[in-house]
């Protein structure tokens, strides 16, 4: 187990470093600094500003200072566009919002998708199964940027049941549509994966043995089939987490929920490099951490994995 952790961390660290280096270099390769505006600044003013933000130093030093700032004080530096705000403040404002509907979507996708897939597999070729399969096909062609406008169209414009945007301190009415829009395609994917994987396990020899020795069906499933059937599902949780975070951009832009996606897209449109860099690194760190957890869970569940 320790070996597994070490190996995974050994992959995680270079991943983070590469994200840091690529995004840092990309930012600095960009034509026009963050302070180029229509009104040209006098060279002296420009030099002063650049000195203030540390932009006059050589690039490796800037990168080093930036990394040290993040690691020691969790400081992502100032925003280049909004002089009175730091990236930390922006993250502090957007992160809880993103996390709220992200976590809800995650929970809903897992708690609906997995049981639906299990039931579908256990009742293969019944009506329940056909329903689950058609649901997963239909939902997989409806990504969040398709779901979100459709939901607003139906529930806000036609039925007038739920607000079509805003955050309102995360009241449930404001959460329902974003969470449905974000979680549907992942619920579908989990349903399909769980169904397929349980069906495959149920056809394997050791399940036949378990049945042959007279175990009741429920015990066969709970004790022998469930754990191996969950392995592909666990692996999918990693990409799903990434998908939920990137999907939150769409949610923020359609529902005006004001999460991190809103700030990221805005800073991309305004070339506010430090905000983009900060959010990219934060998300990269989260993704790497989450993948690490998924890998460890996998290693713990699957006795065949020995590093």
């Amino acid at each position: 187990m320790l070996n597994l952790i070490v190996r995974r961390v050994a992959i995680a660290i270079p991943t983070l470093l590469i994200i840091l280096v690529i995004s840092f270099l990309l930012m600095h390769a960009a034509p026009g600094g963050p302070f180029t505006s229509e009104k040209p600044l006098s060279p002296q003013v420009l030099a002063n500003i650049e000195a203030k933000y540390g932009l006059d130093q050589p690039i490796h030093k800037q990168m080093f200072n930036y990394t040290v700032g993040i690691l020691t004080e969790f400081d992502f530096g100032p925003s280049f566009k909004y002089k009175d705000r730091t990236v930390n403040e922006i993250i502090a404002q957007g992160f809880p919002v993103t996390m709220t509907y992200g976590v809800w979507s995650f929970i809903i996708a897992v708690f609906f998708g997995v049981p639906l897939g299990l039931i579908a597999a256990l009742r293969q070729n019944t009506r329940t199964d056909y329903f689950a399969v058609s649901f997963s096909i239909a939902a997989s062609v409806l990504p969040n940027f398709v779901m979100a406008p459709l939901l607003i169209l139906v529930f806000t414009l036609w039925l007038g049941l739920l607000p079509g945007g805003g955050w309102n301190d995360g009241s449930w009415q404001n959460l329902v549509l974003p969470v449905i829009a974000l979680s549907t395609s992942y619920t579908a994917e989990l349903t399909r994966l769980t169904r397929a994987s349980l069906l495959e396990v149920l056809r394997s020899n050791y399940i036949r043995t378990a049945r042959a020795k007279g175990l009741p069906e429920l015990k066969v499933i709970l004790r022998h089939a469930l754990k191996p059937a969950m392995l592909p599902v666990i692996t999918y949780l990693g990409p799903m987490f990434v998908g939920l975070i990137t999907g939150s951009f769409i949610i923020d832009s359609i529902f005006s929920t004001g999460g991190m996606g809103y700030f990221f897209v805005n800073s991309a449109l305004n070339r506010d490099y430090s905000v983009m860099l900060g959010i990219t690194l934060l998300v990269g760190g989260l993704v790497v951490l989450f993948n690490l957890i998924v890998d460890l869970a996998y290693g713990w569940l699957d006795p065949q994995i020995r590093y």
Partner: protein, 323 residues
């Protein structure tokens, strides 16, 4: 993109069907064809054609491709021409109609939606296909070389893939677009940079099983160079699985492009794509101009749906387990 690699889904239903048809299948072959060997491709084509849903979807997809290539011949307006008679009165006058020549209506700025949907389909589909071609080419070569040579080089090459695949590529892609300018070319480059990773893994896995086969040994014995073995003997034998995997990736690329364009970070005006059109339509649906959302959305959804079944049909057609 990983989402598109599905294990079985409806495949099982098709499995059952295949079993039912099995006797029929042998029967059909029995007297005449018995002597003729059939290549993998003929075999796959026969099996694909037996899957009705996949065949219908392929047909629809071809129609959509034809629409995107030749559709603008029938457009009465160009993509950027503003119909001044309609501007400002989109809801009253901009609805879909054959009399005005706006078959799909107009957008909020009085531009012809038909012409824009044709253009959007062209861009979205080409992102899908070009992405698949590049990633297939790069990924297959990378995976085949890594798998065939093996040893340390393989370890190194695969660790690189492990690391790159863990990067949330959408973020880097957006950074890329911001820094080098938002254009469709940059989307191609950006998607190509990250898309080959999954393919490389698949190709490597398959190469590992191939490289101990007798025909490879025979090639080695007569002194064929490593490079030639990879190109002549490994890669052609990877094609089946590569085609299946490639077809499953196309919707992922189209979605990635639509995602970025939806956020306004992708294609730039006056060019457009499905994502950008859906975004515009979603923005204006509160005014009651539903057609602005409906047309691009239907094209997008139908295409995704078709790719789903085509990928499924291809997998069944090439799946060696079924044989």
């Amino acid at each position: 993109m990983a989402g598109w690699i599905r294990k079985s889904g409806i495949k099982l239903m098709i499995d059952l069907k295949a079993k039912k048809n099995f006797n029929f299948y042998n029967f059909e072959l029995a007297p005449d064809d018995e002597m003729k060997g059939r290549s993998l491709w003929v075999d796959a084509r026969i099996r694909y054609a037996r899957n009705k849903m996949a065949t219908i979807c392929l047909f629809i997809l071809i129609l959509i491709c034809i629409f995107s290539i030749f559709g603008n011949l029938f457009a009465a307006y160009s993509i950027e021409e503003i119909d001044w008679a309609i501007l400002g009165m989109t809801l009253e006058k901009g609805y879909p109609s054959f009399e005005t020549g706006h078959y799909f209506g107009t957008d909020e700025m009085g531009r012809d939606l038909y012409a824009r949907v044709v253009q959007g389909s062209r861009i979205s589909l080409s992102v899908g296909f070009i992405g698949a071609i590049i990633s297939t080419f790069v990924g297959t070569m990378y995976g085949a070389i890594s798998g065939y040579i093996g040893g340390r080089l393989d370890g190194l090459m695969m660790r690189i893939v492990d690391i790159l695949i863990a990067i949330p590529f959408m973020f880097i892609l957006i950074l890329f677009l911001v820094v080098f300018g938002r254009s469709i070319l940059m989307i191609f480059v950006g998607i190509a940079l990250f898309s080959w990773l999954g393919m490389a893994r698949v190709a490597r896995g398959q190469t590992m099983t191939l490289k101990n086969k007798e025909f490879i040994e025979a090639a080695q014995a007569i002194g064929v160079s490593q490079f030639t073995i990879v190109i002549r003997h490994i890669v052609p034998n990877l094609l089946g699985i590569v085609i299946v995997y490639g077809s499953l990736m196309i919707p992922g690329f189209i979605m990635a492009e639509s995602f970025i364009s939806f956020l306004g970070l992708g294609v730039q005006e006056p060019n457009t794509s499905w994502g950008a059109l859906i975004s515009e339509g979603a923005g204006t649906m509160t005014y009651g101009t539903f057609w602005q959302l409906a047309f691009p959305l239907s094209f997008f959804t139908v295409t995704m749906f078709c790719f789903y079944f085509i990928g499924d049909g291809l997998r069944d057609a090439f799946d060696p387990k079924d044989r």
